[in-house]
Symmetry: C2
């Protein structure tokens, strides 16, 4: 095997969180060159004997103190000049978390960590802006064929919260009547007895996602589909 | 940057071809260890200054003499022990070709090259069986939301050829009447004046895929969808 190749392998993570009714991304402020003091995706080089997923989990834990339940591989970025130091191929992952369940804290290569509204991102290091754009498209796509929206909402939510989440992430208006009819027809939500009022409206019932029911339906051939 | 990391970066290609009414994959017979004389996906290490896509194109050309029009990144495989020599992360791609348009010829690391029916694959080197399984799932998925089936058929085809292709790749029966109605409603096929008979049936008209029309529809918001 040719030993002349000197390409490094890194992982980077796009962690999405839904917060204050906006879609957010977890970023760290780099404390090493290049792009020192720039905001960037959490990530770093893969250690010799760890799997790619373990590398992402380790970097996230070290740089942001966030532990994720679920990681999905997004895409690999390998342009020869994407890192000014050395050629680095980055294998990227994305995750969905509920920001209020995590206490973020910077460490190792990061001297700060924060959630940023995806529509108000700062200047980013490397090709991280491009990576985020691809992750956003993947998230928008998945939202229409998998019930991942519930991973971003509180356990108990108003139906209007779910509508708002879809409109925010898909960046378009939805036909509320059809949306409600469709979602309820899937029979994967539990309507609770608890009621809360939002703004000046009448109190409305809270809902809960019934994941067990969803997997049961899925096994029977049901397709979640909000197009 | 840590210089201790000694992970190599390779690319591998899953090239699909539709041939004799079966879904085929292009494989090479390795002439170097490990897995010498085993069949494997075409691929190899990325050169220092070439993009990942260029690396796939070069390896395909060198090992199989096949030139592809379109490559799509599939997934990156990085288990620490997937190559017995050294840790190698493989970034995999898939492509669709019409086998009769290519004269395959082995060279460099390959001492043979051949098309294999996906249901009759030989023993494969490394984790290439797993890579093919993931590529097959991706192809099955894409077939339902993009008109990629036409990239696998002859330019002129019978409607029954298209039906057969869908049934072969999706590995299930389709409701022929609904399928025909749906596909024709998309208004992306041209029915030609040429007629041919298949088997003992009545002569039937040939069709052609109108790619220009498809892209026009797509721009207007049309979604190809065969579920």
């Amino acid at each position: 095997m040719a030993t002349l190749q000197n390409i490094k392998v890194a992982v980077d993570a796009v962690v999405f969180g839904y917060k204050d009714k906006t879609l957010n991304i977890l970023l760290i402020k780099r404390n090493i060159a290049p792009y020192k003091n720039s905001w960037a995706l959490p990530g770093g080089l893969v250690l010799e004997n760890e799997s790619l997923e373990k590398a992402v989990e380790r970097e996230l834990k070290e740089e942001t103190n966030v532990t994720v339940d679920y990681l999905e591989q997004l895409y690999s970025f390998g342009k020869p000049d994407r890192d000014p130091r050395n050629r680095v191929v980055s294998i990227t992952y994305f995750a969905l978390v509920k920001p209020e369940h995590h206490t973020i804290k910077a460490d190792t290569d990061a001297n700060d960590v924060a959630w940023f509204d995806i529509n108000k991102l700062p200047e980013l290091a490397f090709d991280h802006k491009e990576i985020i754009n691809i992750a956003k498209k993947r998230l928008q796509g998945k939202l229409t064929y998998e019930p991942i929206g519930f991973d971003l909402l509180n356990t108990k939510f108003l139906f209007s919260d779910l509508e708002k989440l879809y409109m925010t992430i898909l960046q378009k208006q939805i036909d509320r009547r059809n949306f409600r009819k469709k979602i309820l027809s899937f029979n994967i939500l539990e309507e609770l007895d608890e009621r809360v009022s939002e703004g000046r409206g009448r109190p409305a019932n809270l809902f809960k996602f019934n994941k067990k029911q969803y997997f049961k339906h899925k096994k029977d051939g049901f397709l979640f589909d909000i197009k």
